[in-house]
Amino acid sequence: MIRRLTAAALIGAALAMAALAGAGVASAHAVRVAADPAPDSSLASGPARVSATFNERLQTDFAAMTVVGPDGNLWSTGPVDVAGPVASVALLPLGPTGPYTVNYRVTSADGHVVSGSWSFTLTVAGTGSPGPKVGKPSDESDGVPVWPFVALAAAIVGGGVWVAVRRRT
């Protein structure tokens, strides 16, 4: 009993110390190492594309990248292009001056999801017209839900177990 308490106390102390050390930047997963245009930069005219470079290769599936302007409209267009460690998306000709925010969510080669954002500022108004308004998260559904199938599989496995355990007792 004493040994158990000692072990528990030791673990508790070690974990508490670790927890109190405060949040930091994770190093073991993909991180963004470069952005074009650079974060917090000021531009006189909009670039044709925005891109983010990571320290690891990315999965080509499930990448998302959007550019939202100061008017709350979407200024990126077309699909996200992933080439090696670089994810990029095309931009419409920009419109009003002000901050444009690039949001991204990509999956690194080891399957971890990395998301974040950065901003750049347009100093000279352009003549472009925006894409759709960025509203609430889309209500689109993902087609046939998967959970009924998971529940069915679990029921089949559970049934098998029940039969096997009953047979034995």
Binding site: R3, R4, A7, L10, I11, A14, L15, A18, A19, A21, A23, G24, V25, A26, S27, A28, H29, E56, R57, Q59, T60, D61, F62, A64, R105, T107, A109, D110, G111, H112, V113, S115, S141, D142, G143, V144, P145, V146, W147, F149, V150, A153, A154, V157, G158, G160, V161, A164, V165, R167, R168
Partner: protein
């Protein structure tokens, strides 16, 4: 302490460790991983446990393990399935409740993480089918036993190969071997707690387990250090990053575990060998060790998702 209370204590420990892992900065899906990894480890252990007894009693021990094996492999299979769906939801940015069949299938076939999940799910299912179809247990060296051991080992180590260190082959192999050694050590002990009941059995089995586990610990430490050295850039990462902090916590738990194991080796092992330790003593010793192992495994699961 009856089995139900022991199970409750185990569940509490895992939940506590998961909560701590959350506090250390790893995402909620690490709980699914912890259940999944725990079930995989127990499955591997239950398959291996009969090899520890002398030839004559192996069949009997396998038969005793059979029911537990069915349960553990079933939990493992379902957990792998849930883990695949949760992984798909995470990758696609959907909430786990709304994710659909299309996204899940695309994740499972198109991404490295999804394919690894599919491999582990297949391995778990294979063990489950073998367990269901061998009502008298899988005797060591029989064909179903070899199949079950192989599948369980693939299920335990497969994901590590593509985990954190997919970019570094050395690191990937190191972590896979590390995970396998840890799984054998913890899993077989869990199997012993579930299956061994007589003083005589402890006397026969414990010396062999002790020998096997010391090899496991050596392999675990050597390859764990290699893996950490490959992953971390500098020693200050150990407390400066979330990943490093979970890793430090795991190192601390491992130290406690090794000290505990060393003390057991000095006291419990000679007593059990000469039939002096009662079943109650043997059980409580092994359960304490198992409790700390459960914490270490949960932190390991957290380590794999943190960042």
């Amino acid at each position: 302490m009856n089995t139900r209370r022991a199970a409750l204590l185990g569940a509490l420990c895992i939940a506590g460790a998961a909560a701590l892992a959350l506090a250390l900065g790893s995402p909620a899906s690490s709980l699914v991983r912890a259940v999944c990894d725990g079930a995989a480890v127990v499955t591997l252990g239950l398959v291996l446990v009969p090899t520890l007894d002398v030839q004559r009693y192996r069949g009997e021990l396998a038969a005793r393990a059979a029911r537990h094996l069915v349960l553990a492999s079933a939990v493992w299979t379902v957990a792998e399935l849930v883990r695949l769906v949760v992984g798909a939801a995470e990758a696609a940015g959907w909430s786990a409740a709304r994710v659909g069949v299309r996204t899940t299938v695309a994740f499972a076939t198109d991404t490295a993480a999804g394919r690894a999940g599919l491999v582990c799910l297949t391995a778990a299912l294979m063990v489950c089918v073998v367990a269901l179809s061998s009502p008298r247990g899988t005797r060591p060296s029989s064909a179903p036993w070899v199949l079950a051991v192989g599948a369980a080992a693939i299920g335990v180590a497969g994901r590590s190969l593509i985990g954190h260190l997919s970019e570094s082959p050395l690191g990937g192999v190191a972590v896979a071997v590390h995970a396998l050694a840890a799984a054998v050590w913890c899993g077989v002990l869990a199997g012993l707690v579930l299956v061994v009941t007589h003083r005589g059995q402890w006397a026969r089995i414990l010396p062999r387990f002790s020998q096997m586990s010391s090899w496991c610990v050596v392999v675990l430490l050597v390859f764990g250090v290699i893996g950490a050295a490959v992953t971390l850039d500098s020693p200050s990462d150990l407390y400066g990053t979330e990943y490093g902090r979970v890793l430090s916590a795991k190192v601390a738990v491992t130290v406690v575990l090794v000290v505990l194991a060393a003390r057991n080796r000095a006291g419990w092992l000679p007593a059990a060998r000469s039939h002096r330790a009662t079943v109650v003593v043997s059980r409580s010793r092994s359960r304490v060790e198992l409790t700390v192992m459960a914490i270490a495994l949960t932190l390991a699961a957290a380590l794999a998702v943190t960042g």
